[in-house]
Amino acid sequence: MDQPALTRLIRDDDCDAGNLIPILQRIQQLEGYIAEHSLRQIARLLKISENHIYGVASFYSQFRFQKPGRHHLKVCLGTACHVQGGVQLAQEVEKQLSLR
């Protein structure tokens, strides 16, 4: 997302610090992650510190700070899948796809 589009997105929601989370959610939805330049732009327009925004965003697992990959693989690790070897399967997937 370029600078003007990002500015418009933030201004659409009113430049009110109370709208921080909805703004972050919109950016996360459109770009897949919260980039550093997005953080800086939000800080500038909402007149709050980057530190504060990072503190809020990093508390929630919804917000990612790295560009996502093209293909997403999910391995369920809920109770039933755990007792059926879910962890071992996830580790083997990571090993075979050289993900770690």
Binding site: T79, V83, Q84, G85, E92, Q96
Partner: protein, 172 residues
């Protein structure tokens, strides 16, 4: 408010691993505000992981009891006060399983991967080959109708094999 669920598990479930699993959830869900939960949950997880790796000592059980009791008495919220429940109830009902992990360095449920391995008893193997199909790490080798062999180094102990052959599974 909230929800209640009933989970039914059979004898192939490792109770030490189960307690560890539920505590890792509590640890990651901890808000971090109070020390009993923030640090206590971490200590419980680390101690249970140590036991699951085969490095457990009998004193670790004392640590589990003390930290669990501390969390129940001093944590600020109901979530952390009840977080140690899986540890306390598994210690109460399955203490022998903890002792086998610590003193025998063996996981009777064949769950803690450091504490067991799968082997095929050659004279009982009919060479059906279904195990090769379900094995995700290519650890099983053998020709059809010939006894198969598990490469212990490759085996990730994922239990897919157990699912196919559960009727023939022997714990030694």
């Amino acid at each position: 408010m909230g929800s209640g669920g009933l989970i039914v598990l059979d004898e192939s479930t490792g109770m030490v691993d189960l307690a560890r699993y539920f505590l890792t959830f509590s640890e990651s869900e901890s808000c971090g505000k109070c020390t009993p939960c923030r640090v206590g949950a971490r200590i419980l997880v680390e101690t249970l992981e140590k036991i699951a790796r085969g490095e457990g000592e009998i004193e670790d059980l004392d640590v589990l009891y003390k930290v669990a009791d501390m969390m129940q008495c001093t944590a600020l919220c109901g979530g952390s006060q009840t977080a140690p429940n899986p540890v306390l109830t598994t210690l109460k009902r399955f203490l022998n399983e903890y002792l086998t992990h610590i003193q025998g360095c063996y996981c009777p449920a064949a769950v803690c991967t450091a504490l067991f391995e799968y082997r095929i008893i050659a004279k009982k193997c009919t060479g059906w080959g279904r195990c090769i199909q379900v094995c995700s790490s290519g650890a099983v080798h053998g020709e059809k109708k010939e006894p198969h062999v598990i490469d212990v180094e490759q085996c990730i102990k994922c239990r897919a094999y157990v699912g196919v052959y559960s009727r023939f599974f022997i714990r030694e």
